[in-house]
Symmetry: C2
Subunit: 472 residues, 2 copies
């Protein structure tokens, strides 16, 4: 069962973490390493490091753990008295999926349709019955872009058969086979680090500098004032400005013969600093995409999987047809994207790679989704999210010189700190008091607990965070 609270034995990183960091430094760049973990000893919302420090985890492996450190085992073992996830692995039928990684596109395992139906498709966004599995957020988005480019060219041609000239020129990277199409993205957006994704990522320079890119349009993302309800008029003006720019850019890129095949956007810009926009903004953006014949791609790699209080963050928008493509990874364990029928290429090997995901992740996801439903974890998220956000409002009222712009949906919350150095110091201080946090944007802290983070964890977190703030 879970622990009662943090328990700190050393500074973090402690001596063992520092020693291991030195060892790993012989092999890899270790500047980003926070500390080494003892995952075996970790449980639920608590991450235990190699020095025996037990910390409340409000970062969850960069927002990628759905139901807590070892939580799956823990919950299932205790609550339902059967270790379902351990069973997933030791069941001889599944065991083979761990040891033989099938090439899902050519030699799928017998249970693939069943597991996709019980897993990914059981939580498909409204109106989407197609899903393409991938292995991480980057290949999910790269392939989603390819699907949009193919779709766009099919529209332009009026049919799905590239001409001999297109086929021939494509092999040597030339037009018309490799057309000058573009994807419109937003300043502050993050969609991955492979070259295609990176051309739509605009967060930190160090992620992009020295790497060749594409001449694709970049629209401003609304810079809103928080709390959103208090600045409705100002925010609506700012959003109108950005939407106008979007239309201008689509026209401009069309004129310079690099038409916008698709628009990609996050429901909350996560890496970029937890930047929100109103649901109305997204509804209007969707209409602009439709009007100009651009595909609309919602990147839910970080927001998807329940942390906002709905399974998909874009469900908050209240649109029947919010997207052509919805990509995911992280908490979903497997990468991939849902898509409309039109985005399914009619020829093989256009969207393809050796593995096309990992069946073992589908198996785990199916179990995780069962837990989310049985435990009504989205309800928990709404409750603990309320405690979190309310608490953050209180803290920013108490420390106005340090904190501002508390914001969030569900437990997907963030707050701004005075400046980058202060933000980083605050994260270190909180960590030494037993809370693992991560930054985002220039001076924000993002809160990314697992779905098993309950109201009392939120209170615990707020108390410790308050202590850290008091010492600043």
């Amino acid at each position: 069962s879970e622990f009662d609270g943090p328990l700190m034995r050393t500074e973090v990183p402690g001596p063992k973490s520092r020693e291991l960091t030195k060892q790993l430094g012989q092999i890899q760049n270790v500047i980003a390493v926070n500390f080494f973990c003892n995952y075996e000893a970790s449980r639920g919302n608590y991450l235990v490091d190699v020095d025996g420090n037990r910390m409340l985890d409000v970062y969850t492996q960069i927002a990628s753990i759905p139901i807590g450190e070892n939580a799956s085992i823990c919950i299932l073992w205790r609550r339902y008295n059967h270790p379902a996830l351990v069973k997933v692995m030791t069941d001889s039928h599944n065991l083979s999926a761990f040891i033989n990684r099938p090439a899902l596109g050519v030699l799928p395992p017998d249970n693939l349709p069943e597991k996709l139906n019980a897993g990914l498709l059981s939580v498909a966004p409204r109106g989407m019955s197609r899903v393409q599995t991938m292995a991480c957020g980057s290949c999910s988005n790269e392939n989603a872009y390819k699907a949009m480019f193919i779709w766009y060219r099919n529209q332009q041609r009026g049919h799905t058969d590239p001409s001999p000239e297109e086929l021939k020129s494509s092999v040597i990277n030339q037009s018309p086979g490799c057309p000058d199409l573009s994807i419109l993205s937003f300043m502050g957006g993050f969609h991955g680090r492979t070259l295609g994704c990176l051309a739509t990522t605009h967060t930190k320079a160090i992620q992009k500098v020295d790497v060749p890119s594409f001449d694709w349009p970049i629209a401003p993302f609304p810079k809103l004032q928080y709390p959103l309800e208090e600045f409705k008029r100002e925010n609506a003006q700012e959003e109108a400005r950005c939407l106008e720019q979007v239309e201008d850019l689509i026209e401009k890129w069309g004129k310079k013969s690099r038409p916008v095949a698709g628009i990609v956007i996050e429901p909350i810009q996560a890496e970029g600093g937890d930047n929100h926009a109103s649901f109305d903004f997204y509804r209007k953006l969707r209409e602009i995409a439709r009007k100009h014949g651009c595909a609309f791609h919602v990147d839910e790699v970080q927001t998807g999987g329940g942390a906002t209080g709905r399974f998909w963050a874009h469900e908050h928008w209240g649109l029947d047809d919010p997207a052509d493509i919805v990509s995911f990874s992280k908490k979903m364990l497997t990468g991939g994207y849902y898509h409309k029928e039109d985005f399914l290429p009619d020829k093989p090997f256009r969207i393809f790679n050796t593995w096309l995901g990992d069946q073992t992740k589908n198996l785990f996801l199916t179990e995780v989704l069962k837990v989310i439903k049985r435990e009504r974890l989205l309800e928990e998220v709404k409750r603990s999210g309320k405690v979190m956000l309310h608490g953050l409002y209180e803290l920013q009222a108490r420390y106005p010189h340090l904190l501002s712009k508390a914001r969030g949906l569900g437990t997907f919350c963030a707050i701004d700190v005075r400046d980058e150095t202060t933000r980083n110091n605050l994260i270190f201080k909180a960590r030494n008091k037993g809370v693992v946090l991560g930054g985002c944007g220039e001076r924000s802290i993002r809160f990314r607990p697992a779905l098993v983070f309950k109201e009392h964890h939120a209170h615990l977190f707020l108390n410790i965070f308050n202590e850290a703030l008091a010492e600043m």
Copy 2:
């Protein structure tokens, strides 16, 4: 233990495969699906499908299974009397790695340095003590390209600190921050399907058409006559022609201000049709790269892991310093790349993503490498490779109207068939006789058995292949 030979009950795909294909067709494009597999029933060199057909596997999930279908369990259980791979998974210490997927770059597990040393680094190419794990062949190559771009700009600048102007312009995809650097690749090369990789892939048009690309130089790959030993003079001329073109292209792209930061090449062009070049060609190419200040990247995604009779195919070249970067995936279970010290960025988050691979794949790889060593599987590969190639020579002498250009290193063999339709028919016919094969290039068949493919399997394969040919 393993089966004695193929056993066919239905046509392939049989009724159950066809039914499952229909089901999966509701969710995904299934044109590339061959048949559905029962991985639990599969063993060693035999793949069993859902209709109970048992086939000799000479394709191994697109060359990605190192020691056979379920072989690891099977071998270890029987031979060493301890199910090491099952233990890998059920050991409570490892179990947590399956359930908590750590963000290896920020919160690594305690056993990461140990497992990297016992695994990937124990088979590092000579002179390389650094490895960056990734999750698939595409992110391995994408990040290898980024490492080469960063290295190249560092050389140009004379230091590793981008200017404020570079940093600022990079965020909006513009130069100087996003420089017009290029990667030189070869016609017929395959390096992946994400946008950066795809710009260096030049195999089939359908993999590239409609996707925007980069203006990067593409050199001709030598079109050699086989067997290589019999056409030494002609082949040397052809290789000299290609090398001259490489130098011309480097100069030409330098002049148009898109300098070549790196050259990427496979030791055998696999997807492109199993095109070989002489070891001398590769030695000279390496020197050209050095002379022009370009990084040299050997892509061993398909050739690495032992199938050529050496652990890395490029070890055949007999060079002390063959490469700056060696990328891998497939048989290595984890993706990644080895690199020289200079290709390690000195700042964090330049080469980074959420997971940076998958620790569970490192755990399996460590066990697989133990089996390869204990069982001396590379010796087996050399022996069965000889039987294979010799047998293919005999078959092409017997069916000169059908077959030509038998070629191979170890069991990494291929043969050309008269034309594409005949090739595809031959693959179907062989499959219905109980051998799973895959094509590559326009009219080649590639043979990609696992490392546990022994001489008697090679004889068995040759007999069945002969029967199929006789019926053509």
